[in-house]
Subunit: 368 residues, 2 copies
């Protein structure tokens, strides 16, 4: 369980790294594919291998509700339950508990809430979250935190950061699964001094890696980079850095330029289910009538299973008929598209032309 | 394009055959997997290969409505559109036009109806059906017929059989795709003399094979076998016989014992999407709460991708969460289960113990 920086870009803070987990090595910068309920939606483990996925992200909140700790414990953890032998990262449930659940009461110990599924009452705090992540057996566990909404005034943000820091300490002190790394989460909203304070205090606790949370929550794009810029200088060079909830190509490239190593986002799988393909030239609504007769692949030059075999005309037909295969094939394409994008970004860093790569992707995809 | 009877069972009319089509050889008795709209629901072509599917059935009515003849023609036919290089059989649309569409007017030329999707008006008769099947490029085309409901009085059935025979003649006389076989369809409801008359008249037209239609439309099981028994003696030994719309294990075995070679049914894929697995010991509702903790496979001893890898507990969890992967994995299992069942039935015929095989499957699955 370690992280090594292999190479640094000369014109930016971008770096190539290698994160060694109990279930294999991850090449960074990496995009992690979200598998909320123990499946990257519509895909099976062999599809993840084929689409060159490196890490699956599981959601502690969702897995706590369904199937629950008892079932996961019986199965021997999430790897065995879902048959994915690669690395798994779990979030702490903090984000979902504050955004999805019907909150009942927040105390120093955590949150009492009602499940968004059936109203059943649960309690989740740093101890419960770490216990659940231990049962899940993830390779990387995240501390329980409060994810601030945007906008949020300074006083509330400052108070929340202190809560997040206390919960980080409790999370760190819990027993963890064998070989499980634990990452801290820098919060602080759009306030540079709070980001710095949070980062510095977390570093004192000595985590295996550091996430920057509370970005991509509706703020302008510039605020996102500001939050990253305000946090990174206070995080150790030799530890991985992870921006949570981000999966847009040019935004990931901007963050990599700032020294970020890891990302995750529901975007590629979610928009696939709505009929949209991610490409190097922006998003494409494949279900649009304009593709009815189009014999080309979803993305020219892409060698994923979907693009190697099927026409836009066929995929559009499947989507128009609500055929499961349509959204499955687009999911395969989108997951592959982002994983391949990260491979190309790593190659660009290695080849010394990362800044050019970043500008090209911005020009080709931003706003498209 | 030919059919050969390779071996006959000594204690029944069961037989092993080989149907050679423009897209490969089919071992009979065969179950054909229904791919209504150009996909066996939730599966891609490589899944069909893996689940040992031999023939995909396409629906002329559905494909005429979506994507329509123009798109299929542009793609170069259904094989290329959906990327399935094996044999395809298409029904004629007769069944759907009478059961799904809002009928406007039936004439000697066919039926004017409104699409069940958007109300758009279409016309389908023997000429239009054969033209559409030519565009689809199926290896086996079915004549346009009227599928009688159950119950149906003698006078109506007799009149309908004459219509079906006239449409069969027109269908036969249309131009067909290269290498396309055409099958006639025996109708006649539960009336033995009408079945015989229909079979005899069709045989005079000399089709490449003969289907027995209008079974499995709600009649008691015994009436189904009666319809088969009333038709088979008047169909030539050297041509394939196909009972349409049947996919229940013991019923297929009963029909094979009566000399039937081919079957199709939406059942395995449809019940998979409703959370039910087909097994050699009857159907199993995998989404039932009793499987929450069960670490066994969907079916003990099954070596499909689903059963080799996942527990009932995991599949039940996916189904409970409405995860696409759950119904996809059950679809893989169910398609494999029926295709393997037919393989074992063929092996039993070859080994001379077909009747024993038939009794065992009836005892183990009927009503379960």
């Amino acid at each position: 369980m370690s992280f090594q920086v292999l190479e640094k870009d000369k014109s930016s803070k971008a770096r190539l790294g290698r994160l060694i987990t109990a279930h294999g090595t991850v090449n960074t910068p990496v995009f992690m594919d979200v598998g909320t309920l123990g499946t990257v939606k519509a895909l099976e483990p062999r599809d993840l291998v084929e689409t060159r996925a490196q890490v699956v992200l599981g959601n502690t909140y969702h897995l706590m509700l369904r199937p629950g700790a008892e079932v996961l414990e019986l199965a021997g953890g999430l790897h065995k339950f879902m048959r994915w032998n690669g690395p798994i990262l779990t979030d702490s449930g903090g984000f979902q508990v504050f955004s999805l659940a019907k909150m009942r009461k927040i105390t120093e110990e955590g949150c009492r809430f009602n499940s968004h599924i059936d109203g059943h009452e649960f309690f989740l705090g740093p101890k419960e979250s770490m216990a659940m992540q231990r049962v899940i057996g993830s390779d990387i566990a995240m501390v329980f935190d409060e994810c601030l909404p945007y906008p949020c005034d300074y006083a509330r943000a400052a108070k929340s950061v202190e809560q997040t820091l206390r919960w980080a300490k409790v999370s760190k002190d819990q027993p963890h699964a064998d070989g499980q790394m634990v990452f801290g989460i820098v919060q602080g909203g759009i306030y540079d001094d709070l980001r710095r304070h949070c980062a510095e205090e977390l570093v004192k606790m000595d985590f295996d890696g550091y996430a920057i949370g509370g970005v991509s929550v509706g703020e302008p794009e510039e605020c996102m980079y500001q939050a990253v810029d305000a946090s990174i200088p206070y995080l150790p060079e030799e530890k991985p850095r992870y921006v949570m909830g981000l999966g847009v190509m040019h935004q990931m490239a901007e963050c990599v330029a700032r020294g970020v190593d890891m990302f995750d986002c529901v975007l590629p799988t979610r928009i696939a289910r709505h009929g949209t393909a991610i490409t190097r030239h922006g998003n494409v609504a494949i279900k649009a009538a304009k593709w009815i007769r189009d014999q080309g692949p979803v993305e020219e030059g892409c060698d994923c299973y979907c693009c190697r075999n099927f026409s836009r005309s066929y995929i559009r037909h499947l989507l128009a008929c609500n055929e499961i295969l349509g959204l499955r094939l687009l999911t395969i394409h989108n997951v592959y598209a982002l994983n391949r994008f990260m491979e190309d970004m790593r190659a660009a860093i290695a080849a010394g032309n990362f800044m050019e790569f970043k500008e090209t992707i911005k020009k080709e995809t931003k706003g498209k």
